[in-house]
Symmetry: C2
Subunit: 185 residues, 2 copies
């Protein structure tokens, strides 16, 4: 297998594994096993575990920004950007990893990327939808609420607590069907 192919494979495995456990709690060993290579090889490929995480995180953030940037300006651009964000939920790991980035204060680079991604979403919303700063703020805020709900496992624990169900259905709405399908399938 090509170095480039193997690298992509490891990055994909790392996305899944890091998304589940976060940076600190995840060892390089399950990443290696998920990618089908040995643990030392993973480390040597990226130098350090931290550099691997940084690379995974950079790519995840880039994918989110690209998804939003792909929405053309127009009268209903705001709604389409919301839809584009919901679409990202298909890849459960993506948004969950983003959450881990927000709290990974160990690496200042991670924090910088996290802040920039938030700001870019805000900027893109304003640019494409032409909405007010308050509209854009609400857009980003709802995105964060979705992230938090997903990260805390709300969609996986429906039916356990009526209050939680209320909030979850109010936030996720129709998107919930897609999520549950994904979880089941």
């Amino acid at each position: 297998m090509t170095g480039e192919e193997r690298r992509e494979q490891v990055l994909g495995a790392a996305l899944r594994v890091f998304a589940e456990g976060g940076y600190a709690a995840t060892t390089t060993d399950p990443v290696a096993r998920a990618a089908g290579v040995s643990q030392p090889y993973v480390v040597r490929m990226f130098g350090t575990k931290q550099q691997l995480f940084a690379e995974v995180y950079r790519r995840a953030c880039a994918r989110v920004v690209e998804a939003l940037a792909g929405v053309q300006a127009g009268p209903d651009a705001g709604e389409r950007m919301g839809q584009a964000y919901i679409e990202l939920l298909r890849d459960h790991d993506l948004l969950q990893l983003m959450m881990h980035g927000y709290v990974a204060g160990t690496d200042p680079e991670i924090g910088r990327i996290a802040r920039q991604t938030l700001a870019e979403a805000y900027r893109l919303y304003r640019e494409r939808s032409g909405g007010s700063p308050e509209d854009a703020r609400s857009f980003v805020a709802h995105g964060m609420l979705i992230n938090v709900l997903v990260a805390s496992g709300a969609p996986d624990h429906l039916g356990e607590d009526p209050d939680v169900d209320d909030l979850t259905t109010c936030v996720m709405g129709e998107a919930l069907d897609g999520i549950k399908k994904r979880a089941a399938g």
Copy 2:
């Protein structure tokens, strides 16, 4: 020193230290040093590191819920609840710890508390302000955005990126002054 006093001291120290580093990345040693006791004593006091974190997290969530529950119903209850949440920012560690709870999927109990706290904020907002589900959803969403911005260090990195500054000032607004004062003092 009384056992109860010492216990409070350790819980206070653990809040600060866990807020900074999260659960997995934080060892029991700095908690012990911050509390002025030995590391084994911290562990024995709570059984395991995980149980210590759970206790700290429970208390933090309880404080947030209490702050919101302390707002009386009335015509401007919504605004006052927003104000109450901003007040919580005085204790920087509190909201930062909450963020760590959202991504601490290792312990199912933590996830349950996290979801319940979110739901309780939603429920209280609806109850006290009489607002629509959408209003309450926005309230909680903005709370999460504040949490994420604080956790990712946005208030500490103003002036580095214009886009980030835009978003931060739009979200935090006047509250920013109080935060900066706290950071300076």
